[in-house]
């Protein structure tokens, strides 16, 4: 009765599929960050000024901050229900490296929270009167930047998932780590508008992404082992 053993890649795929399925069944969680992004971004013209020139100036910052807040809002779903129903224990007790399973959860989480935000960003950019030639830059920076936000946020969630009342602590842990991404993202959009070449800035963002993919799931995995006691 020797069972056919599962490769880590198969376990990775199974976890990714499961999480996407859960997200699909809990449509609220899927739509929330996206709606939040739209709402926050559309409040700025009302609150600051509807003047197109002033909006164009702040548009890239507004879009990036909204994306950051939306990502933060969505973060808590990442491990919470798994912690509460015991699935997280099953994840920790699997024979596979936790790194890949956490990465699978991160990817699924980004696909439902970060990717829609990146996809809709040109539309919101149009509303905020961002110069047309920046749409592509903005889209690319969000496409590279939001997974970094998800990966970094995952560390904070893993650390706080075992706490009863979390309040703002997740934001306090996560936001400082996210600031460099925010700076790089907005700078890229602004500087390319001023004529700088896109490649150098993208390289910085991409470097952040690769560093986050390499190290963040390790940190999340270690934090999960501490949280699940």
């Amino acid at each position: 009765m020797t069972a056919q053993t599962v490769t880590t890649f198969q376990a990775f795929k199974a976890t990714l599929k499961r999480d996407l399925l859960i997200a699909y069944k809990r449509k609220n969680d899927m739509v929330n960050p996206f709606m939040f992004f739209l709402i926050v971004a559309s409040l700025f013209p009302i609150g600051i000024s509807p003047d197109p020139d002033r909006l164009a100036e702040i548009a890239s910052g507004v879009l990036w901050i909204s994306a950051l807040l939306a990502s933060l809002l969505a973060m808590d779903n990442l491990f919470r229900s798994d912690y509460e129903d015991g699935s997280l224990e099953q994840l920790l007790l699997s024979p596979h490296p936790l790194y890949f399973l956490v990465l699978a959860k991160n990817i699924s989480h980004w696909l439902v929270s970060g990717l829609p935000v990146a996809l809709v960003s040109p539309l919101v950019a149009y509303m905020l009167n961002l110069p047309g030639e920046s749409y592509f830059t903005l889209f690319i920076t969000l496409l590279i930047g939001t997974p970094v936000l998800s990966l970094l946020g995952s560390i904070g969630v893993a650390l706080t998932v075992g706490l009863g009342s979390r309040g703002l602590i997740l934001a306090v842990i996560t936001l400082p780590m996210s600031v460099p991404v925010l700076i790089a993202g907005t700078l890229t959009v602004q500087q390319t508008l001023n004529g700088a070449s896109l490649a150098g800035y993208l390289a910085i963002l991409a470097a952040m992404l690769f560093a986050a993919v390499s190290f963040a799931p390790l940190a999340s995995a270690a934090a999960l082992r501490i949280s699940v006691k």
Binding site: M1, T2, A3, Q4, T5, V6, Q10, A11, A14, T15, K17, R18, L21, I22, K25, R26, S81, D82, E84, D85, G86, S87, E89, Q90, L91, L92, L93, S94, P95, H96, R225, V228, K229
Partner: protein, 212 residues
């Protein structure tokens, strides 16, 4: 601490002078026992005596202990992959996601350990009496039925060591009987079980460990 009757079978799990405290209260100290193939070890003790903690120590979920736990002679940390390939743990929180169906839950939790077909999954669900519920989301099921979802994993698993934390609590009489039969079969096939329960188990080759 536990009387060993049969020395023929290989010793699967060996716990040597285990010490664990929580909030300056000693849960257990100098705890020694051995679990051999074919044995069922029932852990008894009053509430708060550290039964769950002991199980979580052994699974490696809680590493705040002193002492050695070894798997076929090797410390668990050194044979991580073998140990976790051979372990099924079902805790208080049974690991059943509420929005997924029993089938989807079982598919994921089994697929972490072995390749399995949907027919086998459905077969296992049928055996635990969940046929007809495989498509309902788990939040519509009762606590006992959710427990059955997690226990159906035992039917599929080829793991040698089962660590079960209060698996009988929400089960009805028929479920209790079925689980006992399962434990017997597993022990008969050379597996081992560690189980915490206040229920009187009618299983041959039963060892009892009293805590507290």
């Amino acid at each position: 601490m536990v009387e060993v009757e049969t020395d023929l079978e290989a010793s699967m799990l060996c716990v040597d002078s285990l010490f664990c405290e929580r909030d300056d209260r000693i849960l257990f100290e100098d705890l020694n026992f051995e679990l051999k193939e074919g044995q069922v070890l029932q852990i008894k003790g009053s509430n708060g005596s550290g039964k769950t903690t002991l199980l979580r120590n052994i699974c490696g979920l809680n590493v705040g202990y002193e002492g050695a736990i070894s798997w076929y002679g090797d410390p668990i940390k050194e044979c991580h992959e073998e140990f976790y390939s051979s372990l099924v743990y079902i805790g208080h929180r049974v690991g059943v996601n509420k929005v997924l169906t029993p089938l989807e839950n079982l598919r994921w939790s089994s697929s972490l350990q072995q390749v399995i077909t949907d027919d086998e999954l459905l077969d296992a669900l049928e055996k635990v009496g969940l046929r007809g519920y495989e498509g309902s989301q788990c939040f519509t099921l009762s606590a006992g039925q959710q427990q059955r979802v997690s226990l159906s994993k035992l039917l599929l698993s080829k793991a040698k060591l089962w660590v079960l934390d209060e698996p009988f609590t929400t089960l009805d009489a028929a479920g209790v009987k079925q689980l006992e039969t399962l434990l017997k079969t597993h022990a008969g096939n050379g597996g081992a079980v560690m189980v915490t329960t206040h229920h009187t188990l009618s299983v041959p080759n039963l060892q009892v460990l009293e805590l507290g």
